[in-house]
Amino acid sequence: MRASSRADARRTWWWATPRSGGIAALALVVAVLPLGFANGYFYDVAIQAGLNSIICVGLNLLIGYAGQISLGHAGFFALGAYGSALLAARYGWPPSLALVTAVAGVALVAYCVGRPILRLKGHYLAMATLGFGVIVSIVLANDDRLTGGPDGMQVPPFALAGYVARSDHAWYAIVGACLLAAVWLAQNLVESPTGRALRALHTSEVAAAIAGIDCPRHKVNVFVVSAVFAAAAGGLTAYYAGFITPSSASFVRSVELVTMVVFGGMASTFGAVVGATVLTVLPQALTVLKEYELAVFGALLMATMVFLPRGVVPTLSGLLQRGTR
């Protein structure tokens, strides 16, 4: 009786659910934030944070919910970026069509990488994606006829139906809208039967399979979804920056993305956004410390993992819930 009334209450307050309430709050933040921006540099950092957030929201579905580690997501990011850039610059495709085609291509690549690996139990995916990321970065650096090699390549500006996106304001709006869409899609997935299946196979693959969950299929699906998020962010980054280099596919970059997810909080979409934002903004803010920058950055990371072991957002929201009860 008491339980059912509590369940009713939970359904009534739509603003308290992560899907609708959380997205409304995020939309508010995205809309209000530019009021505090003094110059173009602020916009640039915010756009970088937004693009990283899109990748991390997808990567968190894979790592936080399904419990599968990828050490090669920078590879998918770079393939999305170079795919969009090459189709638009060398073959003169419309930028939007180039972006969609590149993302679809990456989805296919992710399926081909994930399909044989994810039939196995254990952390083989980490090894396979590590190799995949390294291969991508080597190919991009060496195939200099096509990609310009280590020097990178120019990317034409993004244009859709005659409108050319050049200003910081336009890019802020585009990335903000894409981030909200990414969070909406991810949160939908989390709160669906598929999301439950992912959390289930994370805890116990045997029990999940006994419940009829096809574990390999769901793992491949979420791997492809996370690669698509990374590739879309890659394509946007290429058009925004106007210039890309193979270092975007580096192993260090892949590890950085995983760190963002773990820092913000596993199995929390908004944690992924917070993690990506903090770890994008923090190095910029710490530049005033000059040679101590990296030491302070490392100390902050360590302190977070010691005092907020489940990541920033889940630990803090857990404390908050206990406080209100």
């Binding site: 059912s4 997935l189 709160e191 669906s192 439950r196 045997v206 029990a207």
Partner: protein, 260 residues
């Protein structure tokens, strides 16, 4: 009438025969118990019947359909559900989510509808939630609906596993020691539940050490020892079988037995 037919089933672990050339049949809507001393191969048999282990030889058929070698989720899709001796609850979810996960086979799990949260999916989710709440009520767990599973007591977790297994609406439910660690009152509740399931048409396969429970609810009992069939029959037939008494208590020496 659904029946499970097992023939010539063999499973070895590095030369040890855990199950050896075992054949039996389970008729629909009955309570079929599997008993035997520790190490007799009962849990191994359940793992074979749910596809968790691949047998070295033999076949498992449900309604004449060959299941041997199929992946675990295909056994589940064929209508076989189970609980585990050592709990396999999804501890990172609420009790309600655990049961809703058990309904996976009855839900549509396309990737695109999930990403877009289509109205059809939202409707199915509401229905799924209602049914899961109904099952929690059926097992006396409604107070825990929103509780995270890792905050629930042991007895409640045992029942939560049963609720999750029932959520998939299995035709055959395999219970691995459902009464282990429960007090006599709770064990009696489990017995009542098993009878109700059988009456509603679900076949129950019960592995259990609590003999009062087994003798009270079983239509048919299979006794295993060292992976082989030692005896089979109704409760009365099995209870009076000297081979069963010997396996459980050792060779009966009448003089010593008389003094005891």
């Amino acid at each position: 009438m659904s029946t499970l037919a097992v023939s010539g089933l063999t499973k070895t672990f590095g030369g040890v025969h855990a199950i050896e050339d075992l054949s039996f049949e389970i008729r629909a809507a009955t309570v079929h118990s599997i008993i035997g001393p520790n190490g007799a191969g009962k849990t191994t048999l359940l793992n074979l019947l749910t596809g968790v282990y691949l047998p070295n030889a033999g076949s498992i058929r449900l309604d004449g359909r060959e299941l041997t070698g199929a992946p675990v989720h295909a056994f589940a899709a064929a209508g076989i559900g189970r609980t585990f001796q050592n709990l396999q609850v999804f501890f990172n979810m609420s009790a309600l989510d655990n049961v809703m996960t058990g309904r996976h086979l009855r839900e549509r799990c396309g990737l695109l509808p999930a990403l877009l949260h289509t109205p059809g999916l939202a409707r199915a989710e509401r229905e799924s939630r209602e049914r899961a709440l109904g099952l929690l009520r059926f097992l006396g767990l409604e107070a825990y609906a929103d509780a995270c599973a890792d905050a629930m007591p042991y007895g409640a977790l045992k029942r939560l596993e049963i609720a999750r297994a029932l959520a998939g609406e299995p035709r055959m439910l395999l219970l691995d020691e459902p009464a282990a660690g429960l007090n006599p009152t709770e064990a009696a509740e489990i017995a009542g539940l098993i009878r109700r399931l059988a009456e509603s048409g679900t076949t129950v396969v019960l592995v259990e050490h609590n003999m009062r429970l087994v003798m009270g609810v079983s239509d048919h009992i299979l006794v295993l020892d060292y992976g082989r069939r030692l005896s089979e029959g109704t409760a009365a037939q099995v209870r009076d079988d000297p081979r069963v008494i010997e396996a459980y208590l050792g060779a009966v020496d009448t003089r010593v037995a008389g003094h005891a």
